[in-house]
Structures are given as structure tokens and as C-alpha cells.
């Protein structure tokens, strides 16, 4: 049956459906264009994801290799601790990234907050925990602690004996 032989009510129904479908497609295309990156894909980097995150959060170029090199100085069972701003959600990813690369070393995270407040983004160690290595993300190292900067946002120190 052709378009001109269907009832006006049915025509309206079909029209509404297809207009909504076109709107659906329009929204989808807008989101695709926002997502689209018009450069060659980065298939060649074995550490593509880790490097991207290290650059984003720590400002470290080739961050996976740099951090692996730094972490190799610690024994495989050395407990590590990450300090950072406890209200900053990026502390989570900073902690996760160090933990990913530090395997099998246990890595805990302490969020620094003003007195009386509770950190929203940390994973504190159990009581009695003693760290071997300390990472400082977006905060300065503890006063008097031997530490060195790996980048503007990340410093590494050894816990006092």
C-alpha cells in the first residue's frame, strides 16, 4: 500500500516515529563527532594506556618505563604508600597507576585533608603499617624526608628507618 493510501492518523504516527529516529541519529552523530580523533591510531605503544595516564596525572613522558625503573629499586615485597590531596578524585587514579606498576608490592594510599575532615579518595593501610617507599602526588614531601621529584606533580622518597 502506498504512502498516499494510508490514513492521516497513520501518516502522523509514521512521521513522528521517523522524526524521532532522525533525532536519535542526530544526537548519536553529534556525540561521535565530539569523540572522534582525526590522527593515526597509536597501536605501536605497548604501554599506551599507562603512558597516557602518567602524562595526564603526573606530567611524565614515557611514564610507565620511568616508574617501572624507579620501582625496581624496591624489593618485590616492599610496602609502598601514596600521599595526595584527599578530596581530589585524581588521587584515585594516581594511586591505581602506581599500584598497577608496582605489582607485587602492596601499595596503599592516604588522602591528606584538613583536621576533622575525611578523605573521599584514598585507601589507607591497616594500623601498624610501615612503608618502605613513599610517593607524594600533588603535595610536597614530608619536611626533612629525603625525596626527589620525578615530575612537577610527583615525588618519591624512602621512609626513614
Amino acid at each position: 500500500m502506498a504512502w498516499n493510501r494510508i490514513t492521516p492518523g497513520m501518516k502522523l504516527r509514521v512521521l513522528c516515529w521517523w522524526l524521532a529516529a532522525v533525532a536519535f541519529a542526530g544526537c548519536g552523530l553529534v556525540r561521535w563527532t565530539q569523540f572522534f580523533v582525526a590522527k593515526p591510531p597509536a597501536f605501536q605503544n605497548p604501554d599506551a594506556a599507562l603512558d597516557a595516564l602518567a602524562l595526564q596525572h603526573f606530567g611524565l613522558e614515557h611514564g610507565a618505563a620511568t616508574l617501572r625503573h624507579e620501582l625496581a629499586a624496591f624489593p618485590p615485597d616492599a610496602p609502598l604508600l601514596v600521599f595526595g590531596p584527599g578530596k581530589d578524585w585524581t588521587l584515585t587514579e594516581a594511586h591505581f597507576l602506581i599500584s598497577y606498576l608496582a605489582w607485587p608490592r602492596p601499595v596503599w594510599c592516604v588522602g591528606i585533608v584538613p583536621p576533622g575532615e575525611r578523605a573521599a579518595f584514598d585507601h589507607p593501610p591497616p594500623p601498624g603499617f610501615k612503608a618502605t617507599g613513599l610517593f607524594f602526588y600533588k603535595i610536597g614531601p614530608l619536611p626533612g624526608l629525603p625525596a626527589r621529584r620525578l615530575s612537577e606533580r610527583l615525588a618519591l622518597g624512602s621512609a626513614p628507618p
Binding site: 599500584s99 607485587p104 602492596p106
Partner: protein, 457 residues
């Protein structure tokens, strides 16, 4: 050289899946597209389970050749058995293949430009990395490490084992190349959706429309959890879609129970919430089987689901997995204590469903589609979609009554959008089958869709 090893990983996955697809094939003609979709998906399931099991007993240099031999042997056996079998013809499949190639090019390109992030990296890929560096097995200590409970050690291994298989074939982890796994899952999704809708409705334009909906649904393709992000949410949604398609066929004809049961079994192996999806589909399948009088057959077919679910639970117990505390135990007491969360959860659900950035107009169209399906007797076979959507929306919103997070809004915002991705699959199917034709069939034309399963090439 990397490309060759990548091909070995993909070919062995497809071969294993093809063998299983032939073994479990329904008693009807199957189109090549449908075989492709089923083989890709079953192959991923087979490779992940095989690697998990063999990795426990055969770690080291013998693992990759053994896996490859088993997979290729399954493929050759399947090819020999399928020789001379009837093959169904799907209308418009050549045009679909051309469009699919273009789509896969874009998906591969963009996946390569968007490295793994968040859950994709820290909950899934890390397991693959560890497995590849430890002879194919995720170290037992990973599951019991108290400093890494945020990595959700209880998450199952469907996606990580597929990634680990690629790493093992390549000779080491490679976060750049593993992104191409997105292409594998998108191919499976497009083939299954096109073949399923075209076969059941008999209309190729509806099948193309369904695939178009999937491709243009931001949550399914480009949002966190979508195909290009390579988190487990897209494979979970894809398995749910496959199970739905074969549930509709089982409800209508009694066929494809083995494929339905296979996809149901794999759901909890992808993500823990897959158990919820499997439970809802199982309830519907039981109702259907009871009406058809073959409950015993269905119960037997559910054995793989039970074995895989209990097997994974037993493994987690054996490795002393560290419990995660995202939710408090479900109880009436906990529900009563948190009832005041109800209004917030309803508003959050409404806000999420109307978020055009993630869902475009999917849920508005789905509501209209459900009404169309209820009104039109010709669409009666699709009426089981509405209760499935409703049940899942209810469960996935209600689960937050038991959230143990300090910040409920943060828990909802970070997880609800991805929980809804599998629920979008029945919504998408409903829209595709309910959208009216621009030209209406005469009564004698539109009585029933042609049975494509009987046509032969």
C-alpha cells in the same frame, strides 16, 4: 610480525567458536552472518575458559601451542561437519558487509586513539597483563591482596583472558594492539543483530535500522563501557543481546536452545551483574518453556550456567578472595533502613534515562515501541521484551538501597550508566521491530514474516 601473531590469536578464537557454533547449531539453516556472530562470541567464551583452565595446569611454553592446537582442531572439525549443510540467505547482506567494513575501520581507528582507562585498565587489563607475565595464569596472590581490593578481585575473567590470549600470542603485553579486540566484539554485535532481526522479522531494512541504532547509541560505542573503551560492559551487553535473540526464537519455535544456554552461561563469566541478567532471562525462559511443555529440556540446558557460576565461586573461595564492600548484604532490615533513598534513586534513574549524551532518545523511543508491541498482534513474539526491561530497571535501581558507599550519588553516577547498557539491548530490539514502515503492507502481504530459515543458497 606482531600482525601475524595477532592474526593467530583472532583466527584461533574464531576457529574455536566456529567449532562450538556447529556443535550446538539449531536444526535449521543458518546464514553465514549469523554463524560469524555466534562463532566470534562463542570463540571469546571458549578461549577465556580454556585459557583459565589450561593456565592452571599447563603454564609456560606449552600453553600457547596447546591452546592454538585445540582451537584450530575445533575449527577444522566444525568446518568438516558443516560441509554441505544448508545455509540460509539473508536479504541485503552484501550491502551490510560493505557498511560493516566501513564501521570496523572507524571503530578500530578510534579504539587506537583512545587508550584504556579506569575500569578497563585497573579492573580488567591488569589481570591480562599479570596472566601474560605469569605463564597464562593470574597469580593466586592477586585475589587475596588486601591492598588491591579496589581492583575488584572477584570480577570474572572473560575479557581479561581474551586480552591475555592476545598478549600470549604476541609474546608479551601490548596495550596498543589489544585495543583491536573492540573490532572483534563490534563485528559480533553487528552480525548477530543484523542476522537476528532480519531472520525473525524477514525485513532487511529493520535489521540495518537495528544496527544503525546500536552504532549511533553513544553508551554502546563511545562512552566509558562502550565498545571502543574495551571495558567488560560492551561484551556483557552483546552476550545479553545474543541470549535475547535466541530466547525470542526459542519462545517462538522451540529452536536454538543450545545457543541460548551457551550465551546465558557466559553472562556471569563476563561481569558479576551478568548473574542478574542471566537470572531474569532464565525466569522468562522457564515461563516460555512451561508454556511449551519442555521445562526439563530447558533445565538440562541451564547446567553450563550453573557449572560455570559455581566453578568460579569455588575458585574464588579456593584462592581466599578478598571480599569487596560495595554493597551491604541484601536484607529487609537494610532495605527498611535505606528506604529514604527511594526518591533520590527515582530522580537519578529518570535523569540518566533522559541523558541524550549517553542514550540519545533511546528510552523515549523504547517506551513508544513497547506500546506499539503491546497493541499489534503481529508483534506478539516481542512482548517478552517489556517485562525484561522493566525488571532490570527495577533491580538495577533498587540495588542502590544496599549501597555501602559513603557517597550514594557518587556510586550511582559511576556505575548506573554502565549497568543500563545491557538493558539497552532489549530496548533497541523493541524499537527496531516496532518502528513502522513508511509504506504499509497490504493485509495479505503482512500476515507473517517469511521463514528465511528454510531458504537455501
Amino acid at each position: 610480525v606482531n600482525v601475524l601473531f595477532l592474526l593467530l590469536a583472532e583466527v584461533s578464537t574464531i576457529a574455536a567458536g566456529f567449532g562450538l557454533a556447529v556443535l550446538l547449531k539449531p536444526d535449521r539453516a543458518v546464514s553465514r552472518l549469523e554463524f560469524a556472530g555466534v562463532a566470534l562470541l562463542l570463540g571469546s567464551g571458549a578461549i577465556s575458559i580454556l585459557l583459565f583452565v589450561l593456565g592452571c595446569f599447563l603454564p609456560g611454553a606449552a600453553l600457547v601451542p596447546s591452546m592454538a592446537l585445540i582451537s584450530l582442531a575445533l575449527g577444522f572439525w566444525g568446518a568438516a561437519r558443516a560441509r554441505g549443510a544448508r545455509s540460509a540467505v539473508l536479504p541485503g547482506s552484501r550491502y551490510f558487509l560493505l557498511a560493516l567494513l566501513a564501521l570496523l575501520f572507524v571503530v578500530g581507528w578510534q579504539a587506537g586513539n583512545h587508550p584504556l582507562t579506569a575500569d578497563g585498565l585497573f579492573n580488567f587489563e591488569i589481570r591480562a597483563q599479570l596472566a601474560a607475565l605469569h605463564g597464562g595464569q593470574v597469580p593466586r596472590s592477586f585475589f587475596a591482596d588486601p591492598s588491591r581490593t579496589w581492583m575488584h578481585p572477584g570480577y570474572p575473567l572473560f575479557l581479561p583472558m581474551n586480552q591475555a590470549w592476545i598478549y600470549l600470542c604476541l609474546g608479551g603485553p601490548h596495550q596498543g594492539l589489544v585495543q583491536l579486540l573492540s573490532v572483534h566484539f563490534v563485528t559480533a554485535a553487528a552480525c548477530l543483530l543484523y542476522s537476528g532481526v532480519a531472520r525473525i522479522t524477514g525485513e532487511s531494512w529493520r535489521a540495518a535500522f537495528a544496527v544503525g541504532l546500536l552504532v549511533l547509541l553513544p553508551s554502546a560505542m563511545i562512552q566509558p563501557g562502550g565498545a571502543t573503551s574495551l571495558w567488560a560492559d560492551f561484551p556483557l551487553a552483546l552476550l545479553f543481546l545474543a541470549a535475547l535473540i535466541y530466547l525470542v526464537e526459542f519462545a517462538t519455535t522451540g529452536l536454538s536452545l543450545a545457543w541460548l544456554a551457551s550465551f546465558l552461561a557466559l553472562l556471569p563469566w563476563v561481569k558479576r551483574e551478568g548473574l542478574v541478567l542471566a537470572a531474569v532471562l532464565t525466569a522468562v525462559a522457564l515461563w516460555v518453556a512451561w508454556k511449551r511443555g519442555n521445562v526439563t529440556r530447558l533445565l538440562l540446558a541451564l547446567l553450563p550456567l550453573v557449572v560455570l557460576t559455581l566453578g568460579w565461586k569455588a575458585f574464588l573461595l579456593g584462592v581466599h578472595v578478598n571480599a569487596e564492600h560495595d554493597f551491604v548484604p541484601v536484607s529487609l532490615e537494610a532495605l527498611g533502613k535505606n528506604l529514604d533513598r527511594g526518591p533520590f534513586l527515582l530522580v537519578a534513574l529518570g535523569h540518566e534515562l533522559l541523558s541524550w549524551e549517553r542514550w540519545s532518545l533511546l528510552w523515549v523511543l523504547a517506551a513508544a515501541a513497547v506500546i506499539e508491541i503491546a497493541r499489534q498482534p503481529a508483534l506478539a513474539r516481542w512482548r517478552l521484551l517489556a517485562p525484561i526491561i522493566a525488571a532490570l530497571l527495577l533491580i538495577y535501581t533498587g540495588i542502590y538501597f544496599f549501597s555501602a558507599w559513603a557517597s550514594l550519588p557518587l556510586h550511582v553516577v559511576t556505575s548506573l550508566p554502565r549497568l543500563l547498557l545491557p538493558v539497552a539491548m532489549p530496548a533497541l530490539l523493541a524499537i527496531a521491530v516496532a518502528v513502522p514502515r513508511v509504506t504499509v503492507k497490504a493485509p495479505d502481504e503482512g500476515a507473517s514474516p517469511p521463514d528465511l530459515s528454510l531458504k537455501q543458497e
